[in-house]
């Protein structure tokens, strides 16, 4: 397996003294390129903390986290910012589009932050939007778009700088089932790129069947790690965790 992300005995503690909370208690896993991995688990199990660390937005208290051969644990703040700027695309639950900016401007933000000229950034953003079927909406503001369209703009924004890691935080939580399915299909297609890993955190059982891999977290530990062997028929998608439909990862 070509591991894009790996972590070993990852621990994360928030606070100090009696009020300290150990959110991750020693997580070890590998995420491969060309794979769509879903991290699931109950609220407070450490999902968001885990993707924050893997996305270079948070430093672990202890343990080793590596991304594309580099140690995230040893990166300085500036190096982490550079890693996020270059290698990571974030997709958020609430889209987090800037209301004052058009779809093109929102989608162009990572390139603008990386120092690209406006002309280059907007051209790349328009191209991404077109690939996601939003060509006609490129000059619209977020308030003029539906939830599904806004999430696709957010996906375009996450892709515009061609990152190797896409991190999605509850990407379908605010969407109806049709829009959610469309978004997951896009993410699934993205994960087919062998140079890219897609990591999705979700509570939404409906989308588990899109995963190549399902990682269940509980109380800050990996409870189960499944490789999904066969895509499920649409009608047969489970309401609960689909562990029985996969095989345990090695």
């Amino acid at each position: 397996m070509n591991a894009a992300i790996s972590c070993r005995d990852l621990k994360m503690r928030f606070g100090a003294g009696d009020g300290a909370q150990l959110v991750l208690r020693g997580v070890s896993l590998d995420i491969a390129q060309g794979e769509l991995s879903i991290i699931a688990g109950p609220s407070g199990c450490g999902k968001t903390t885990l993707i924050s660390i893997l996305g270079g937005a948070l430093k672990p208290t202890s343990g080793e986290a590596r991304a594309f051969g580099r140690s995230l644990s040893e990166m300085s703040g500036a190096e982490m910012a550079r890693f996020r700027r270059k290698d990571v695309g974030f997709i958020f639950q609430q889209y987090n589009l800037v209301p004052a900016l058009t779809a093109t401007e929102n989608a162009a933000m990572p390139l603008i932050i990386a120092g690209a000229s406006a002309r280059v950034a907007y051209a790349a953003a328009r191209s991404e939007l077109a690939q996601l079927g939003l060509e006609a909406h490129a000059d619209k503001f977020p308030r003029q778009l539906s939830g599904g369209q806004q999430q696709r703009v957010a996906i375009a924004r996450a892709l515009v700088h061609q990152p190797r890691l896409i991190i999605c935080d509850e990407p379908t939580a605010a969407l109806d089932s049709a829009s959610g399915e469309a978004v997951m299909t896009i993410l699934q297609n993205l994960a087919m790129d062998k140079d890219r890993a897609v990591l999705v955190v979700t509570h939404d059982h409906r989308v588990f069947s899109f995963a190549d891999r399902l990682i269940e977290l509980e109380d800050g530990l990996v409870r189960a790690d499944y490789l999904m062997t066969e895509p499920l028929e649409k009608s047969a998608r489970p309401a609960g965790p689909p562990a029985i439909h996969g095989r345990k990862a090695a």
Partner: protein, 377 residues
């Protein structure tokens, strides 16, 4: 990024306008009050600076400003003339007199000039001539004083005015810079002044230095040889202004108003900008999660501050300029008042400081915001 920062700024038009108006109000208040203060202080020495033919003012050693003339012996004129480097010297009388007018004006300032040279006379005549003062019992009045004595009446020479119980005939009207004391200025010859106040002594001796002479050195020589104080124009202006600065409540009153302008401006802009940044904190955090560094966030905020400051400052200065373009023409008390460039520059520095300070305070939260926070919702 700057382009994006401005789009975010103007998208929240309500807050942007509030910030711009806050800066504009602050600018207007500070510029208008500071300019009035500067002009008022300048007026305290306006007679000195306007008397272009006078190089040196000789005064009683105890006289500490222009509006407090001492009593000098008439013979001092000749002693001053005898000092090397002095081309000419003449007495200069300045005293208050009572006026009998149909208006509310009851007092004026009598200025007695040497009838040979008219040294120390204002330069700008509206009508008539200073030379006509050589005739006995004549006077020249300033333009503003004319309006006070004969309100709403056309300018006409030959009018009679009772000064200290003696009738004088108007032979000219001058337009000097506004003096600090807003009483009519009654210019007469020394001879006529002596008829009004027999035995009156000059308050100052005014002197002109020879061409090419070092005026400061000549003043020093006069001081050494006569025992009286002698100042060049700049020094006498300075001590007069200093007197008003140190001995009146004017500076502190203006300082309070200007400080209030600064504080109110800071409060409005800082509060609104803080709210603006707070409401945009999520977006700034998203940018940070995407890899924006603190320099980029600070730069975005700085450009927003600079634009708010520039627009607000321009509006405020436009308002202050309008005031000084229109009001002095209509209200005599503001005659000659203007908006000095120095005031504009200093207010500009203060206003940009207010805006940048507000930005620095507001952006702190965004800079400290951990990028992981944005994933926590």
């Amino acid at each position: 990024m700057n382009d994006i920062a401005l789009k975010i700024l103007w998208a929240d038009i309500g807050k942007a306008i509030a910030m711009v108006l806050g800066v504009a109000f602050s600018t207007l208040l500070m510029a208008q009050q500071a300019a009035i203060f500067v002009c008022l202080m300048g007026n305290s020495a306006s007679h000195i600076t306007a008397a272009q033919d006078v190089d040196i003012w000789v005064a009683d050693a105890r006289a500490d400003y222009f509006d407090d003339p001492g009593v000098l012996p008439a013979a001092l004129v000749e002693r001053v003339k005898s000092v090397a480097g002095v081309a000419y010297a003449a007495p200069f009388i300045r005293t208050s007199v009572s006026l009998d007018t149909a208006s509310l004006v009851e007092q004026g300032v009598l200025v007695g000039l040497d009838q040979n040279s008219f040294l120390g006379a204002p330069q700008k005549m509206v009508t008539g001539s200073m030379a006509a003062l050589r005739a006995s019992d004549t006077f020249v009045v300033d333009r503003r004083g004319y309006g006070d004595i004969w309100p709403d009446e056309e300018i006409a020479l030959g009018r009679l005015l009772e000064v200290d119980g003696r009738l004088l005939r108007l032979v000219g009207i001058v337009d000097p810079p506004s003096p600090f004391i807003s009483m009519p200025l009654i210019y007469t010859s020394v001879t006529t002044a002596s008829l009004l106040r027999p035995g009156i002594a000059p308050g100052f001796i005014v002197a002109r230095a020879r061409d090419g002479a070092d005026v400061a050195a000549v003043a020093k020589a006069i001081q050494e040889q006569t025992g009286y104080a002698a100042f060049d124009k700049a020094a006498f202006s300075r001590i007069t202004i200093d007197y008003y600065l140190k001995n009146t409540g004017i500076p502190i009153n203006f300082f309070i108003t200007i400080a209030l302008g600064f504080i109110v401006g800071t409060a409005i802009v800082a509060q609104t900008f803080y709210l603006f940044v707070t409401e945009n904190l999520r977006h700034l955090a998203v940018f940070k999660a995407m890899g924006a560094n603190w320099r980029q966030l600070v730069s975005m905020t700085a450009i927003q501050c600079v634009i708010v400051a520039a627009v607000g400052f321009s509006l405020g200065i436009a308002g202050a300029s309008w005031f000084f373009e229109t009001v002095p023409a209509k209200i005599p008390a503001f005659k000659g008042f203007y908006l000095p460039w120095g005031v504009v520059a200093k207010v500009g520095v203060a206003v940009f400081a207010i805006s940048l300070l507000s930005g620095v305070v507001s952006i702190q939260r965004a800079v400290r915001f951990a990028p992981a926070q944005v994933l926590r919702g």
